[in-house]
């Protein structure tokens, strides 16, 4: 990446630590992290990246000039043992100089302000294309609910969106609110963050340009398990996305002939308090407090992206969610080993 080449040498130009950090940042950003803001993969993140490069260059230039002058002054005008005892000439000020270092910063500020405004308008004030897809994002302590109103799909924690072709853009508009406290939706490679606030509706949009999984996490402190409220965005080709939607629109599997263990698990589920909080479409379970489980087994993770969705993890989670995520609002139902086994068998069949 050319920007990377251009900035990677910054760290060597000066001993001052802040700069070293910048140089190192660009190095690390381009190599390691799946959540680097300097590795944009959608239009909003790209335009922020462009702006950030401009701001970084301007501030770097200011730093080099001012810090250089300071360093020079401190060395050049240091007190030397050979100096006479006389005090240096007293200079009280100069209007011309004051004026110049007032006017020049004002010009820089105006330039930065106009550039910033352009990016703000380009992200927040552009009309929504008719080809846009809508998703309602609802923040919960400590997980994400996603509803696709025009597609009739409800899911949790793993957001599936189609990729967007710049020629025929299909951005995804996220209409966001919270049922409890404030959260913030932040997937750095796709866009800046937007707070998810109760009794308020915020809108943001993303248009991933390439298929892939984009990671992020809640960025507004929301209580005990703020740290384990991760975000996973699956950007898929239009075909893959259509297939996913088709599959998610099906009601939950209810016929477990040939799998008596799962059938027994279904009975355990439907006769416990599980149904008060969770929905399994097509059954009596229609709770809204916890994640929709209709297609739980189709997800890669549980516990808001923090645990791989394997039968072992699922069983451990069901036995005591707080052992894996202390502060989780899902209580342990104190099920016996047998019930845990059959319930796990049931839930892992909800494809």
């Amino acid at each position: 990446m050319s920007c990377f080449d251009k900035y990677s040498t910054m760290g060597f130009s000066n001993g001052e630590g802040g700069l070293a950090a910048y140089g190192a940042t660009f190095f690390a950003a381009s190599t390691h992290s799946p959540t680097s803001i300097f590795d944009p993969a959608a239009t909003p993140a790209h335009s922020i990246f462009g702006l950030s490069m401009l701001v970084l260059s301007v501030t770097l230039a200011i730093f080099l000039i001012v810090a250089g002058l300071l360093l020079y002054a401190l060395i050049r005008f240091r007190h030397r043992p050979t100096d006479s005892d006389r005090e240096p000439p007293q200079i009280y000020g100069s209007n011309q100089i004051e004026l110049s270092w007032t006017v020049i910063p004002i010009l820089i500020v105006v330039m930065l302000f106009l550039t910033t405004t352009r990016v703000i308008l380009g992200t927040e004030a552009i009309p929504k294309p008719s080809s846009a897809m809508d998703v309602i994002v609802i923040g919960h302590q400590f997980w994400w609910e996603y509803r696709y109103p025009r597609l009739g799909v409800v899911t949790a924690n793993e957001l599936h969106v189609p990729i967007s072709d710049p020629a025929r853009p299909t951005p995804t508009y996220l209409t966001m609110s919270s049922v409890d406290v404030s959260h913030s939706f932040w997937v750095p490679r796709l866009a800046g963050k937007m707070d998810v606030i109760p009794n308020r509706v915020n809108v943001m949009w993303i248009d991933p340009l390439q298929a892939g999984i984009y990671l992020g996490q809640c960025a507004q402190y929301c209580g005990t398990q703020h740290a384990k409220m991760l975000l996973r965005v699956y950007a898929q080709s239009p075909e893959d996305f259509a297939a996913w939607v088709n599959q998610q629109k099906q009601p939950a599997r209810q016929d477990f002939t040939g799998n008596p263990v799962a059938a027994e698990g279904q009975t355990v589920f439907m006769h416990n308090a599980c149904i008060n909080c969770h929905t399994v479409a097509g059954t009596v379970a229609n709770g809204r407090f916890g994640p929709d489980l209709t297609h739980l087994a189709s997800r890669d993770t549980i516990s808001s992206g923090t645990i791989q969705n394997t039968p072992e993890n699922m069983r451990k989670w069901l036995a005591d969610p707080n052992s894996m995520k202390p502060g989780s609002l899902m209580p342990s139902m104190h099920l016996n080993d047998h019930d845990l086994d059959v319930l796990t068998a049931y839930l892992t069949q909800l494809h």
Partner: protein, 560 residues
């Protein structure tokens, strides 16, 4: 040397030294002397600085490696809440008020603050507030046995503070502590403003006040305007929690964003409330150790007042991610960027003060040099954050944490350390050890940069603040380890500083009136100053009265 009122004052006060108090404890508990109250503010703040520092170290241990189980999530959340609240309300504010209390009457040639008893009241109520906050560890469980210390974050966003999400009394301890500290702050601010307006000695026009006094005037005026909304918001929150009001109760139609506005109309000017006194110290110390008058005094005053006003219109840059819409965002981008102009003027004037001087690198000056470079960087990362779209990425990330610690530690704490080394001889009559001071400085610089330079990086790599742990594989691990090592070095440096404070009190070299060959009024009287400061009211003819005495051939008054 001709006899001037100032010299007479020195002679006459020298004889009246050495009357020991009958009962030391009683004397300190009941004192209304601005110097004693100032010292109590400072010592009290230092105790909380150590407590807040321990909390920071515990957090850094927890975060040093991914998936750590050193502390529980609940305990971690309490740690960052208490750390932030402590450092802002029970370290930053009291220590700066302490210095102001001690120095302002001395610098304007007054014998005490305008309202000595209000002064004592303000100190004691602030002190009580700090104790109340920490009592929550014992009494915070309430009826529900839910948590102990507050765990809602130092800006306590609604509705996380609502009774339903924060049962028990922990949030109430936070609310009441912040409320009482606000009462104390407003009292002291009122006192400082009145003292500066009406207690200046003969000849000290507003245009001749030391810059420190100007900055405290701006800072205290800001406290009125900013602490009041915060204090009001605490009352509203308490009404929400106990009397069914719905200001911030989103379940009943209240507004979470309203709390943010209340908090940040306090919270951002608060940064300037804390940093203006830091500027004040640097304004006094840099000229003395450059052996030159401050460059552009009127511009410095204008810039300070300008910062005071502009800082009242920038608060919503903390809320760029709230969905203010393009108009709101654009306005606050502009206001925030504009504040860099007067701030830049200050840095340039300090540079010009050094330029052409004879810079003496004593410990106070070393800390000021650290301040200058670090404040420059903090300001530049501030410009990055002011560009709203960039902030959409950086807000609430570790980049922000690094940025404001660069201001609070890199600028404010460095200036405070400079102030300690500079005025310690005046307060105690003894010099602090220069050798230990240099150890303190270099270790702290190294620790500071290890911690806070590298703290920017995980933020750029997507690490949000206030998470008690993180998974491996995000590219955050090594940075957090380095940050932790830096924190350990800073701890050692701080211990050296505390040791130096104590040791020098008993063993330090005798300082005399004026060890730095300085120019403001406080150096004209003995160290430590007698309880009445000046035996007779001094008269001044210029901004640097002692310079004029020492250099009658080249006096400031002839320049003016």
């Amino acid at each position: 040397m001709t006899t001037t009122p100032v010299i007479q004052a020195i002679d006459e006060t020298a004889d009246t030294q050495g009357r020991p108090p009958l009962n030391v404890v009683y004397e300190w508990l009941t004192t209304v002397d601005h110097k004693k109250i100032g010292l109590m503010y400072i010592v009290y703040a230092l105790i909380f600085l150590v407590i807040g520092g321990i909390e920071a170290v515990l957090m850094r241990i927890q975060l040093a490696v991914p998936n750590n189980h050193f502390v529980s999530p609940q305990f971690f959340n309490q740690l960052f809440t208490m750390h932030g609240t402590t450092m802002v309300f029970f370290v930053g504010m009291p220590i700066l008020f302490g210095f102001g209390n001690y120095l302002i009457p001395l610098m304007i040639g007054a014998r005490d603050m305008a309202f000595p008893r209000l002064n004592a009241f303000s100190f004691w109520i602030s002190a009580f507030a700090g104790v109340l906050l920490y009592y929550s560890y014992i009494g915070g469980s309430g009826l529900y046995a839910a948590g102990s210390a507050p765990d809602v974050g130092w800006f306590a966003y609604a509705p996380l503070t609502a009774k339903i999400f924060s049962p028990g009394h922990s949030t109430d301890y936070w609310t009441l502590a912040v409320f009482l500290s606000g009462v104390g702050s407003i009292g002291t601010a009122l006192n400082i403003v009145t003292t500066i307006i009406s207690m200046r000695c003969k000849g000290m026009t507003m245009g001749r006040m030391p810059l420190l006094v100007w900055l405290y005037l701006v800072m205290s005026s800001l406290v009125f305007v900013t602490v009041s909304p915060l204090t009001a918001a605490q009352i509203m929150l308490t009404l929400d929690r106990y009397l069914g009001a719905h200001f911030f109760d989103t379940q009943a139609g209240g507004s979470a964003v309203l709390w943010m506005h209340f908090f940040w109309i306090f919270g951002h000017p608060e940064v300037y409330v804390l940093v203006l006194p830091a500027f004040a110290f640097v304004n006094e110390i840099v000229p003395v150790f450059s052996r030159k008058a401050i460059f552009g005094y009127p511009a410095m005053v204008a810039a300070s007042v300008g910062i005071g006003f502009i800082s009242l219109s920038v608060w919503a840059h903390h809320m760029f991610t709230v969905g203010l819409g393009p108009a709101g965002n654009t306005f606050f981008v502009f206001a925030t960027m504009v504040i860099s102009v007067p701030t830049g003027i200050k840095i340039f004037n300090w540079l010009a003060t050094i330029w052409g001087g004879k810079v003496i690198f004593a410990v106070p000056m070393m800390f000021c040099v650290g301040f200058l470079f670090q404040f420059l960087i903090a300001g530049l990362t501030g410009i990055m954050l002011s560009a709203a779209p960039f902030d959409w990425q950086l807000s609430n990330s570790y980049f922000v944490v690094a940025h404001f610690h660069y201001v609070l530690v890199g600028a404010i704490l460095f200036a405070l350390f400079a102030a300690f080394y500079y005025w310690y001889p005046k307060v105690t009559g003894r010099m602090m050890s220069e050798k230990l001071g240099k150890w303190h400085f270099w270790l702290f610089v190294i620790g500071f940069h290890l911690t806070f330079d590298f703290m920017h990086v995980p933020g750029l790599l997507g690490m949000p603040r206030r998470i008690y742990t993180y998974e491996a594989g995000r590219g955050w691990e090594s940075w957090n380890l380095i940050i932790g090592i830096g924190a350990a070095i800073q701890t050692v440096a701080t211990l050296i500083f505390v040791y130096n404070l104590v040791k020098s009190y008993f063993r330090g070299e005798i300082a005399g009136h004026d060890p730095w060959d300085a120019w403001t009024l406080e150096w004209a009287i003995p160290s430590p100053p007698p309880s009445y400061n000046f035996a007779i009211d001094p008269t001044v003819n210029s901004r640097r009265p002692l310079w004029d005495l020492k250099h009658p051939e080249d006096s400031d008054s002839s320049y003016e």
